[in-house]
Amino acid sequence: METVLQTDQATKAFEGFVAINNVSIDLKKGEKHAIIGPNGAGKTTLFNLITGHLSLDSGSVSFEGKDITGTAPHRIVKLGLARSFQRINIYPRMTVFENVQVALIARDGRSFHLFTLGHSLNREESAELLELVGLSDEAEEMAGELAYGKQKQLELAISLASNPRVLLLDEPTAGMSPAETVEAIKLIEEITEARGLALLFTEHDMGVVFGISDRISVLHHGELIFSGPPDHVREDPEVRRVYLGQSHGAA
């Protein structure tokens, strides 16, 4: 299988504290790859390194065979790699519709069109994306006033708007009710199937992780201690040792 995304010995320290230590992971075409690990393991940091939000201390990142180490986030997005955030990241004082529309404007390279009215651009596609994530009824509401779970869905729509081939989702169901989680995961699965996306995601709900992943990688104290198919995770002695005594453990 073709590798679309890869980190090679990625390392990142914050004032001496090593948050990501020599991590080499990859993502295959069409694969759903989960990164798990306790809070503070370094999952979000890894995502930030891959997407250019943070710079690496050493190591490299490549996307579809191209070295993207040190590339600015807005360029990486244009290459076809989009992400969502663990903590809500939307435009609160814009309507739900505009939240998505702005992403489409950027995708089409119109962000610098000073004399093209923005209102009428990408309307149909914005509506379709909102329909896809179930936010059609809220299109004209202020994004900041949406319920938490719906803001998460909006984030997903924003990420999809850039037409990515690879999607990084950082805890897409964090803060959602169990019912919302089921819905959201079903939707993510449908979309990744339909669009043939490769998905790299983190998730605290182990039911979800084992339900949809093709592969699971385990981070612990910034180090990759396991990477393999879901049915091997539980047997791995190192993973068992790390998760021993953890109530939400994978072992």
Binding site: V77, I90, A103, F115, G118, A161
Partner: protein, 312 residues
Amino acid sequence: MQTGYKTTFWISCAIVLLLLLVPTLGSKYLIDLTTEILIYALFALSLNVLIGYSGNISFGHAAYFAIGGYSCAILLTTYELPLIISMPAAIILSGLAAAFVGYFCVKLTDIYFAMLTLAFGMLVWAVAFKWRAVTGGDDGFVGVNVPAFIDNRYGFFYFTLFVVTVSAALLWLICHSAFGRTLVAVRENRVRAGFVGVNTTRLRHTAFVVAGTFAGIAGSLFAMYNRGVYVESAFWTESGQVLIMALLGGLYSFFGPALGAAVLYTLQVGINQYTEYWPVVLGIILLIILMFLPDGIIGLAQKLRSQFSRKA
């Protein structure tokens, strides 16, 4: 066209029509006041591209107003160039100055951005103050040559109305363009905008240049109106005043800052007749805005209207 845009269009047309009638009222005083308000309104609208739309607070916006003013005055008078060359050149120079300063400022954000705009603003003031040979220093640049057709109260009024209307229309388009919409997204969440593929630094730089360019238009009008440019126009208090105008009207609506300019300037002129303590009044107004009118007059009007329609 969206219905909201249509309403805006017709209301704007009505306002311009009413303004066209101002000279027929026969009050010289009113013509002068309206001319001054129009110029300040454009100045405040230009600042709002930066503050309201892109969320970058500038404490140095008077610099571009002054650069536009001095350039236009010097080109018209010292070099005796015609208006059709002097004014566009002055506007371009203001834009270039903003492009240069903005290049450094947009590398920073928040308070650091604001402080750097202030620093560059003071630098421009210092240059205007010290470069006597060109700017006249603290005596000001006096005796600006203006072409005959605007060398009278009426001609200048109509000229100003024309320039401000065209400029405001352009600014409106820019603020409601694909670019304007993206600018709001950057204001709301710079990181997210970067992660949908927007080069947010370049976008903020563009906003800086747009703001500076239109401030330059206002500045060159003001220089011709006064037949002179004074070093005070570059001082940071001028930047503060135009900021207060924008705040007073409301940052989150396109026309808010123009309304704020009209209200604040009228108050200033009125109050100056009775007392010389305008700065005290200005301070109180600022206090009232910050405590009771966070979204300015327009914000208050919107809130009242939505409360009213809810009751009805």
